[in-house]
C-alpha cells in the first residue's frame, strides 16, 4: 500500500489505527457523483506547518513533493483517507509515483474544465485522485470545482472549451485538512484565485492493484439493496433522458465491478 519503509515509519501512528471504511450508501454516492470528501482531524498547526513548508520550497518538486514534505504521508495514511481508498480501490491499493503540488497563486485565472489524461475510459474505479488542502479554501482562493456524474462522460477536453459555469457544479471551499477523493475521470478545474493568498492543493493518485472479488467497504447486503436503488433513480446533474438512461447502465456496471462481479 505504501511505497517505502521510510514513509511507513513517518505514518506509523496513522497506519496503526483502524481504517474507517465507507458504508454502502457512501460507495453508491461515489458511484453516482464521482467524489467523496473526508476531513482529517489533525490539529490546524499540523496543516499550517505543511503549508509553510511548501511555501519555503525554492521550486515545485513535482513528483518529489513527498520527499520534500514527508508529513504528507500522514495525511494519506489517516484512517478516514485510507478507509475511503480501501473501500474504493481494494485493500492492496497503491500510491502512484506521480503526484503534484498545484499552486494557485493570487491573480491566477481559472483553468478550463478538463478530464485528466486521454480518452480511454473504462467506467470502473481503477484510479482515484486524492486532493488534499493544507489551508482553508474560500471561494475567493480558487477552489477546485467538479461536476458530479461526469466521471462517466468520455469527453475530449477541447470539446469543453466553450463551457464556463454549470448550474450544478460543486465547489470545494473546504477547511484545512480536507481530502477530496475523486474518480480519475471526473470533470474538474481550478477556479480563479481572486484573493491575496496562495492556495495549495496536493494531488496524489491511487491505483487499484487487483480486481475486486468482494466488497472492500463496510458492506451490509440489506443496506446495499436499499442504496443501490439510487443508482437507477438519482440524478447527479440535470441532463437529457437518454443520457440518464445510459448513465444508469454505467453506474450499475461500476457497482457490480466493485461488488466483485465481472
Amino acid at each position: 500500500m505504501l511505497e517505502t519503509t521510510h514513509e511507513t515509519l513517518i505514518a506509523e501512528h496513522e497506519l496503526a489505527a483502524t481504517p474507517i471504511l465507507l458504508t454502502d450508501e457512501e460507495v453508491v454516492r461515489f458511484v453516482i457523483r464521482g467524489y467523496h470528501v473526508v476531513h482529517t482531524d489533525f490539529p490546524r498547526d499540523f496543516h499550517q506547518a505543511i503549508y509553510d513548508k511548501i511555501g519555503r520550497l525554492e521550486q515545485n518538486p513535482g513528483d518529489g513533493i513527498l520527499d520534500a514534505v514527508p508529513d504528507l504521508q500522514r495525511i494519506y495514511a489517516h484512517p478516514v483517507v485510507r478507509g475511503a481508498l480501501i473501500s474504493l480501490l481494494g485493500p492492496n491499493f497503491r500510491m502512484n509515483s506521480h503526484r503534484h503540488c498545484h499552486m494557485n497563486r493570487p491573480g491566477t485565472r481559472s483553468q478550463e474544465w478538463h478530464q485528466d489524461s486521454t480518452n480511454v475510459r473504462h467506467h470502473q474505479v481503477r484510479c482515484v485522485l486524492g486532493m488534499y488542502y493544507p489551508q482553508d479554501v474560500t471561494v475567493q482562493m480558487g477552489p477546485t470545482v467538479v461536476l458530479p456524474g461526469t466521471h462517466f462522460r468520455n469527453a475530449p477536453t477541447d470539446r469543453m472549451a466553450s463551457y464556463a459555469n454549470f448550474r450544478e457544479q460543486v465547489v470545494f471551499d473546504v477547511p484545512a485538512g480536507t481530502v477530496a477523493i475523486t474518480h480519475y475521470d471526473i470533470w474538474h478545474a481550478a477556479s480563479a484565485n481572486t484573493s491575496d493568498k496562495m492556495r495549495y492543493m496536493l494531488k496524489f493518485l491511487f491505483d487499484r492493484t487487483e480486481e475486486p472479488s468482494a466488497p472492500s467497504w463496510n458492506h451490509d447486503p440489506v443496506q446495499a439493496a436499499e442504496a443501490q436503488d439510487r443508482l437507477l433513480f438519482e440524478r447527479s446533474i440535470v441532463c437529457s433522458q437518454s443520457d440518464h438512461y445510459k448513465e444508469r447502465g454505467l453506474r450499475q456496471e461500476m457497482w457490480r465491478h466493485l461488488l466483485g462481479g465481472s
Partner: protein
C-alpha cells in the same frame, strides 16, 4: 465618446435540443477588450431558465445544436446541447 454596436455572445447549454429545455450551463462573452469568461466559484445569477427565456430578452440564436446523435447506447460524452446567441448593444468606441 462615440458609440458603436458590438456583438455580445451567450453560450447556453441546454439539457435537450429543445429551446424550452432547462439551461444547465452558461458562458457570456462581452465585446470588451481584456474581458474574461471563466469558471466562477461564487454563487451566480442564472438569468435564463431556458433558451426561450433568452429569446424573449432579445437574444437571437445564431447556432443551434446539431441533432445528429451518435446513437451509442452505452457511452455518454459532452454535457448538454449548445446554443449560441447574440445581442448587439452599444459600447464606447
Amino acid at each position: 465618446m462615440p458609440k458603436k454596436k458590438l456583438q455580445r455572445l451567450l453560450y447556453l447549454h441546454a439539457a435537450t435540443p429543445s429551446i424550452r429545455s432547462r439551461v444547465i450551463g452558461m458562458a457570456l462573452h462581452e465585446p470588451v477588450r481584456n474581458s474574461i469568461t471563466e469558471l466562477n466559484p461564487l454563487p451566480q445569477e442564472w438569468p435564463y431558465a431556458t433558451v426561450h427565456d433568452a429569446i424573449l430578452d432579445e437574444w437571437r440564436v445564431v447556432q443551434f445544436p446539431v441533432q445528429l446523435a451518435p446513437f451509442d447506447d452505452r457511452e455518454i460524452d459532452i454535457l448538454g446541447y449548445e446554443f449560441i446567441l447574440e445581442k448587439f448593444e452599444e459600447y464606447d468606441a
